[in-house]
Amino acid sequence: MSVGRLENLFKSRAGKLLSIFLMPGYPRLESTVPTAKALIEEGVDFLEIGMPFSDPLADGPVIQQAGQRSLQNGMNLSRLLEDVAEIREHSEIPLVLMGYANPLFQYGIEAFFARCEEIGVDACILPDVPLEEYRRHFAAAMKKHHQRIIFLVSSVTPLERVRELDAESGGFLDVVSSPSVTGTSSAVGQMNTGFIREVSELGLQNPLMVGFGIRDAATFSRATEFARGGIVGSAFLEAMKESTGKEREIVKTFVLSIRNG
């Protein structure tokens, strides 16, 4: 696979990387592009862009509700990919899509990844697609269209499997800091930095980004002690709830609160 935006970012950027997860169509259908532009403006290192699904079984209440709101607002996968294309025209920031398998099956696996390549998506996180189903249904189309798959590993993942997931992943590995769904209090409270350290010492090919449990400067710095950076999802969506028309200010305040405390 050719060297891409994600690889360049991890190579060139010193310090801890910050990625933000945004839900397109949330809080309003038109929020996607202004929110993304504001995040880019504030120097976020890359964006994770959710693809809403009616039954998000790995997500806690905040992301569930944001996804539901987005769908109620009329968001769908075609519209979402148009928004992503617009973000790409505006910036060369790495873009990672994150979403459940079913909408992709309905769009058509081949058609979906062809479109991702066309509009400049770098990688996908598919939270209900484990390695085995990835190989069966997704690997061929993703490789053909130069899309990286990013797997999640958690403290319950055997280290042997961590190596296997690393070997298939491109860009980075998404480390889940505790066995929990996104954005729950236990995810914040029980961050297992020991596990992150253990994984960081395996000599993996991919850098580590810590996925769940970050909501402020303190949790960001704790989570990223043994990782290249962190991804903030639920806490950001909460902050964006009433953001319409004020995306720039809210995003600025939020990003500062993570970066500087």
Binding site: D55, L71, P103, Q106, R161
Partner: protein, 411 residues
């Protein structure tokens, strides 16, 4: 690799990758992978273990009350012109076939050293069965149930609590069975080491569809030996069962799956809930209207819109009010082995009244769908038909009473 199971079930069983034809698989978050892969590796060995078999069959006999009778429906048979037998799962402890699976999985959970059981429930039947076996075996029990279902199934909520289970109200999404299932999965993700999730039907990621089918296979096995004693041969011409997720149907079909051609062919008819009608927008007819995709961990058929968002189903019967169907059923449909029909709310209620007055058996609303399909069968004169009487109707009395004043049931 060929196991005894594969030889028996030909192409209709699960393959080594967890698929039934193109359906099935295990679409699960990586956080569930250690649990699921342990189950995948160990479930057959555990189920075939002598000690497990002994304990399971003793409890099925002494606690559940198996074998359940195979009742010849005299008056219905006279009216219909064929011999109709009722497999009486309504007489199993807790009033439905659900207990077979709940008991088997709870015994499995003990062997996997799990001390905490979680389950989802819609109408409450699977929840009651799970709470029951947890009380029996001393396991702690948490039942996830949609807020809406808690409102409309109050007696079962009371039963579960009386049995010592914690009932958690699910307020996410559509606040019904599909969201209760999501919430149970989320719980399992957060409790990876001490908890086993007893899925209530032949749905979910591999190995659940095959695991639950095996635990329910006792239904069809009993039918075979009972027919041998009560008729001149050990198989019927047709087996009929209702399907939501499809566990009672697989349970009674499994034994006859391989009799798929020639003189000894056993026809299989699965009956899904049309709700207010196939084109009403208020239906649970998955096979008739669903498309293939990933729901609750498996690739199967379910009701969804063109963007791949799950569509909320409707059926008067809470047990059939599920947007999907087990992957093995999707395969039995696409391979042509099993026929599928649908029955509306009203047809089901009429069939429930019909059986009540003809045979003195009040069936569950779910079961009534199968009976409605039996009533309209053509071309079976002189033949033998077995219907799975999957549950009893006590829980549906409110609905039946309401309808009996609204429709002329004798028409």
């Amino acid at each position: 690799m060929t196991s005894k199971h594969d030889l028996v079930e030909g192409n209709y069983g699960v393959d080594d990758e967890g698929y039934f034809g193109q359906f099935g698989g295990a679409f699960i978050p990586e956080l569930l992978q250690p649990n699921i892969s342990q189950l995948q590796r160990e479930y057959r060995t555990l189920l075939e273990d002598d000690d497990f078999q002994r304990e399971f069959s003793e409890l099925l006999r002494d606690y559940v009350g198996r074998p359940t009778p195979l009742t010849f429906a005299t008056r219905c048979s006279e009216e219909l012109g064929f011999r109709l037998f009722l497999k009486r799962e309504d007489l199993a402890h807790t009033g439905a076939h659900k207990i077979n699976n709940a008991l088997g999985q709870a015994l499995l959970a003990k062997r996997l050293k799990r001390t905490r059981i979680i389950a989802e429930t819609g109408a409450g039947q699977h929840g009651v069965a799970t709470a029951t076996v947890c009380a029996l075996l001393g396991l702690s029990c948490v039942i996830y149930m949609g807020e809406k279902d808690i409102e409309r199934q109050a007696p079962n909520v009371g039963r579960m609590r009386l049995l010592g289970a914690e009932v958690v109200s699910v307020s996410s999404g559509s606040r019904t069975l599909k969201d209760a299932t999501n919430e149970a999965m989320r719980d399992w993700i957060a409790h990876p080491t001490d908890t086993h999730y007893i899925i209530g039907s032949v749905v979910g990621p591999h190995p659940f569809p095959d695991l639950v089918a095996r635990l329910q296979s006792v239904i069809g096995q009993e039918v075979r030996s009972q027919l041998a004693l009560q008729t001149s041969r050990d198989y019927p011409d047709l087996v009929v069962a209702c399907v939501g997720g499809g566990s009672n149907a697989i349970g009674i079909f499994g034994e006859f799956l391989h009799q798929d051609k020639g003189e000894q062919k056993v026809q299989l008819l699965a009956v899904e809930a049309a709700g207010e009608g196939l084109d009403s927008g208020k239906t649970a007819a998955t096979i008739a209207l669903g498309r293939a995709g990933v729901l609750h961990g498996s690739y199967t058929l379910f009701l969804q819109n063109s963007d791949g968002q799950v569509v909320e189903p409707h059926s008067l019967s809470a047990g059939l009010d599920y947007p999907g169907i087990g992957p093995q059923h999707a395969h039995l449909f696409s391979s042509g082995r099993c026929q599928f029909e649908s029955v509306t709310d009203e047809e089901a209620v009429r069939a429930a009244f019909w059986l009540s007055r003809s045979e003195g058996i009040i069936p569950a609303l779910e079961t009534a769908h199968a009976l409605a399909a039996v009533k309209r069968l053509k071309g079976f004169v002189g033949k033998t038909v077995v219907v799975s009487l999957s549950g009893r109707g006590d829980k549906d009395m409110e609905t039946y009473l309401k309808w009996s004043s609204e429709i002329d049931v004798r028409r």
